[in-house]
Symmetry: C2
Subunit: 500 residues, 2 copies
C-alpha cells in the first residue's frame, strides 16, 4: 500500500502493550487514507513496524504532517527525535475468521491457532479481539488436540531456553490466593538439594504482588538470559523476572485480557501454563492448585479436571507433571504485598519462631514433589528431606547465594504509614474474602509501592474478641492509606464471623 | 469515594463513544489513587459524570493537577474552559459476572440482562467487555426468553416514541448489501398511500453509506424529535437520522463492537432490530432479509430461522412483523456511496428510463408488504398499488414534500475525480464480491466524502467483452482516487467471470 512520510513526535502518553498514534485531523495523510478514530494502522520506521490504533487530534498538540507516538510505540520502534515514519492501513485480521468459526462450533485446527497466536504476539489484536478469542475458547471448551496445538503455537512465537542437564525442574501455582509466595523457598530447597531450577516469574497484573515483585525487594530480578544462565550454572537455581526473556509472549497478552474479564477457560489456562514452562526449558513440573471459593479454582472437581488436562497435554510434549491440590480458602502467610510477603519468606527460610506455619507447610509440600520428581528423594521421603534442608540452614544459605549471584541480597522496605483494622464483633472466623483483601492491599499502593499491603492477624476457625486486631494496612503515603481505609469502612464483611 | 479537584483541559483527541482522560504521571491524584494506564475512572463535573479510561502522560502536554479530556468526554460533560472536575475510581463491573455465567452455560435472566445493558448504555463497558458479551451470546445462543428480555432491557435504557395513530409502520433491512437504498422510496410510497411511517435511519459505521448518509445528500436529516413530529404530522412520513433521538442507545454501542468483530449472533440481531423499532413506536414492521454469500445472512435456512425469531419475539411486544427474503447475491442499484445511491433513488422516484430495475423491484416488494400490513391494500394487491403510486408521480410528489418539510430538497453532489475500471477478460459475470466493492467505495472516501463511491456497470449473468466498463470509481480528491485504484489493482478478482 501507499506510504506517507511524517515527522515522529514523542507525545509521552503511556499505553503499555499497545501502540497509539495521534495525527491531526487536517493532515492530508489522514484524509487521503480515510483514517478515522480507531483505524488500525501500521507505523513503520526503517526496518521496524508496529500495529497502532489511530486517534485524530483537533488541537495544536499535534501539527499536520506529524505523527504523535505513545511511549510504547516510541520504544518498540526504537525512534529518535526527528525520525520520519510512514503510516498505512493495517491489513485485515484474517485470523478472526477462525475465531468466528469457533464461536459457531467449529474446531480450531493447528494452522488457525498458529495464525491467531501469531497475530496476538505481534500486537495485532486489540482488547475487543482478544476478548472474542478468550470468550469463544471458554464458551466452546477446547478439546485435547486444540489444547495441545494452542500450547505449541504459543511456544513457537517466543524464545525457548535449553539447559545442559537432563532434568530441569519448575513449579507453577494456579493463582488467586494472596500471600502464596512459596517460590523463593521452594527454589532454595530444590537447588540446595542439587536440582536445577531456573525459575522465571511474573510481576503482578491485577494482584497486589507477583513473585517477581516480592523477590525484587530481596534481590535484583531484572536479569538478561546470559546473567540468568550464570546464576543457574553457579547455584543450580534462580528467581528472576521472566518478562525480559520473551517466553511465550502471546501468553502475557492473553493473560492481561483474561484478568480484565476475570475469565479463565480451562484450555486457555492449560496452554498458558505449559507454554511458559516448556519455553523455559522445563522437563519436570510441580503444579500447585489452591482450591477455595475466592481462589482461581473453586472446587476440587474443577481442580482435578484441570490437573488431568495439564498432565495429559504436558505428556504430549514430554513434560512430567505432578499436580498438588491445596487449601485455598484463606491467604497463605500473613503478608500481602511485595515487602510484606518477602518478610514471610525470610522468616520461613531463617526458621524464626514467628514464621507462618501455613506458608512453610505449603512450600514443603511443593518442594517435596520436586525432590521426588527430580530424583533427589525417594517417593514418600521428599517432605522429610525438604524439612531437614530448611531446618539445618542449607536452604537459607542457598537462598543467600542465589541473591548474591543475582546482584546482592537486600532488606525489604518498611511502610511509613500503618493502621490496624479491628474485629467488630466476637466469635469464630468463618470466612476470609481473599479478593477484597487483595483490593485493600492494592488501594494501599501495592505492588508499585513495594512496602504497601497488609498483614493479616487472623486465620479461619480462630476465636476472636471484639476490638482484636484483624489486619494492619501498610502504605507509603497518607493518601493511599486513607483510600484503603475508606474501602474497609465500606466493606465491613470482608472477614466473616460465626457468632458464638 | 474520595474525589480530587483538577483543572479540565480540552486536549482535542477524538475518541467517539468513549471517554479518555489524560493525567500527568507525577500528579499526586494519580499516585494517591493508584491510577495506572487504562484504569477505569469516573470524571465528574457538577451533576454530570462519565466513565473514562485513564492514560498517564509523561510529557508537558498535561501538567500535574490537570485532567486532559478527549472530545467526546468534553462534550458529554458539557465542560467549559477552566472548569474543575473530580476523578475517582470507577466501581467494579458487577454485571460481568452474569456474562461469565453465560460463558459457562447458565441462562441470562431479566435482571442480569438489565444490569448488563444499563452498564453498556452508560459507557461502562470497554471493547474487551462488549466483545465478551457478544461472543458469549453467539457461542451460547440466546433462547426465546433471553431474546425477549434482552429486547426489553435495550428498549428500557433509551427513549420511547409514541404516535397518536393506531398503526405505525416501519421497515428494516438486515444489511450487508451495498446500494440497497430502498428506504426513501418505500417511505414515499407508504406515506403517499396514507400510512404513518416515522422512519429513523442510521449513518454508516463500517459500510460506504448508511440511509441517513444517503438521505442527507437530498435533505437535512439531523432533526430534533419535535421537528421530526412536525414532518410526520404534516406528511405522514419522514427519513431522519436516529442518532439524536436516543432510541435503544445500547444497541448503537453493541453494533459498533459487532462490526469490528464481524460477529452477528442471532439473538443479538433480533434484540437489536426489535428494540430500535419498538422504541421508535412501530406497531407494524416489514423486515427485508437479503440472502447471499457476501451479505449478512448467507443461507435461506439462516434467513428463515432469523425471520421466525423476529416474528415470535416481536409478537411478545404486540408488534406485527412481516419478513421478506430477497436476493442478496449482488449490489442493488448501480451506485455505492451516499450521493451515488441518492441518484439511484431519485431515478426510481422520477421514473426515469435509466432507473435501476432491481432497486425499483425491491422497493416495490417492501412497499407492498407495508401497504398490506397497514391496511392500505388488500392482501396480494400491495404491489400493484405501490407500482401505480410510483408511476403516477404521487410517490415523487410526496418525497419532495417530505424533503421540503425536513428543511428543503437538494441536489446530491458530484465527484471531481472519476476513473473507470474495465473488464480484464470476456465471458459472463458469475460473481460480484459485495464486501470488496464496499471497500473500494470507502477507500475512495465514502461516506465522509459524500460524492465518493462507485457506480457498477455490470450485473450477474451479463455477458461482457474485454475492456468493457466494469465500474467507475468516484472520489473528491486525487489521493483517495489513487488509493482506491491501488486496491483495485491488487484485487483483480472482485468481479468473477465464467469464461465462454
Amino acid at each position: 500500500m501507499i506510504g506517507h512520510s511524517l515527522s515522529a513526535v514523542r507525545i509521552g502518553i503511556e499505553t503499555p502493550n499497545e501502540a497509539h498514534v495521534f495525527m491531526h485531523r487536517d493532515c492530508h495523510v489522514c484524509r487521503a487514507e480515510g483514517f478515522t478514530s480507531r483505524t488500525s494502522v501500521i507505523v513503520t520506521y526503517g526496518a521496524r513496524s508496529v500495529i497502532a490504533t489511530l486517534f485524530p487530534v483537533t488541537s495544536e498538540i499535534i501539527k499536520p504532517m506529524e505523527a504523535g507516538l505513545s511511549e510504547w510505540a516510541w520504544q518498540e520502534l526504537g525512534l529518535v527525535p526527528g525520525a520520519r515514519v510512514t503510516v498505512t492501513h493495517a491489513l485485515p485480521l484474517d485470523s478472526l475468521s477462525a475465531i468466528r468459526g469457533k464461536v459457531y462450533g467449529n474446531r480450531l485446527d493447528s494452522i488457525s491457532l498458529e495464525r491467531v497466536i501469531r497475530d496476538v504476539a505481534a500486537g495485532r489484536y486489540a482488547g475487543i479481539h482478544l476478548s472474542a478469542f478468550l470468550t469463544a475458547c471458554a464458551a466452546r471448551p477446547l478439546d485435547f488436540d486444540e489444547m495441545r496445538e494452542l500450547t505449541r503455537a504459543m511456544i513457537d512465537v517466543g524464545r525457548r531456553l535449553h539447559w545442559p542437564v537432563p532434568k530441569v525442574m519448575d513449579k507453577h501455582c494456579v493463582g488467586g490466593l494472596p500471600g502464596n509466595r512459596t517460590t523463593p523457598i521452594v527454589v532454595a530447597i530444590a537447588a540446595a538439594c542439587g536440582l536445577t531450577i531456573p525459575k522465571t516469574t511474573s510481576r503482578a497484573i491485577t494482584s497486589p504482588a507477583g513473585t517477581a515483585d516480592t523477590m525484587e525487594t530481596l534481590a535484583p530480578v531484572d536479569l538478561s538470559i546470559d546473567a540468568m544462565r550464570r546464576v543457574v550454572d553457579g547455584e543450580g537455581g534462580c528467581v528472576v523476572w521472566g518478562g525480559a526473556v520473551q517466553l511465550s509472549p502471546a501468553d502475557d497478552i492473553l493473560i492481561r485480557a483474561e484478568r480484565v474479564l476475570d475469565l479463565d477457560g480451562e484450555g486457555q489456562m492449560v496452554a498458558s501454563i505449559l507454554s511458559k514452562k516448556l519455553a523455559a526449558g522445563a522437563t519436570h513440573l510441580v503444579i500447585d492448585l489452591p482450591v477455595g471459593p475466592t481462589a482461581k479454582v473453586r472446587s476440587f472437581e474443577a481442580a482435578q479436571r484441570l490437573a488431568q488436562s495439564v498432565v495429559d497435554v504436558g505428556r504430549a510434549f514430554g513434560l512430567v507433571v505432578k499436580p498438588i491440590l491445596s487449601d485455598g480458602t484463606q491467604p497463605v502467610g500473613s503478608g500481602i504485598g511485595p515487602a510484606l510477603e518477602a518478610r514471610d519468606v525470610l522468616a520461613v527460610l531463617q526458621g524464626g519462631p514467628l514464621a507462618p506455619a501455613d506458608l512453610r507447610d505449603h512450600a514443603l509440600a511443593i518442594a517435596a514433589g520436586l525432590l521426588e520428581l527430580g530424583g533427589a528423594a525417594r517417593d514418600g521421603e521428599g517432605r522429610q528431606i525438604a524439612a531437614e534442608c530448611l531446618r539445618n540452614g542449607q536452604a537459607w544459605a542457598k537462598f543467600q547465594k542465589i541473591c548474591a549471584a543475582q546482584g546482592g541480597l537486600r532488606e525489604p522496605p518498611t511502610a511509613k504509614y500503618t493502621r490496624t483494622a479491628e474485629m467488630r464483633a466476637a466469635g469464630a472466623i468463618d470466612r476470609i474474602d481473599c479478593r477484597r483483601l487483595s483490593r485493600i492491599a492494592k488501594l494501599a499502593g501495592a505492588p508499585d509501592a513495594k512496602a504497601a499491603g497488609l498483614q493479616l492477624h487472623v486465620r479461619l476457625g480462630m476465636p476472636v474478641s471484639r476490638g482484636q486486631p484483624a489486619f494492619t494496612v501498610h502504605a507509603e503515603s497518607p493518601g493511599e492509606l486513607d483510600y484503603a481505609l475508606a474501602y474497609i469502612e465500606a466493606n465491613p464483611d470482608i472477614i466473616g464471623i460465626l457468632h458464638p
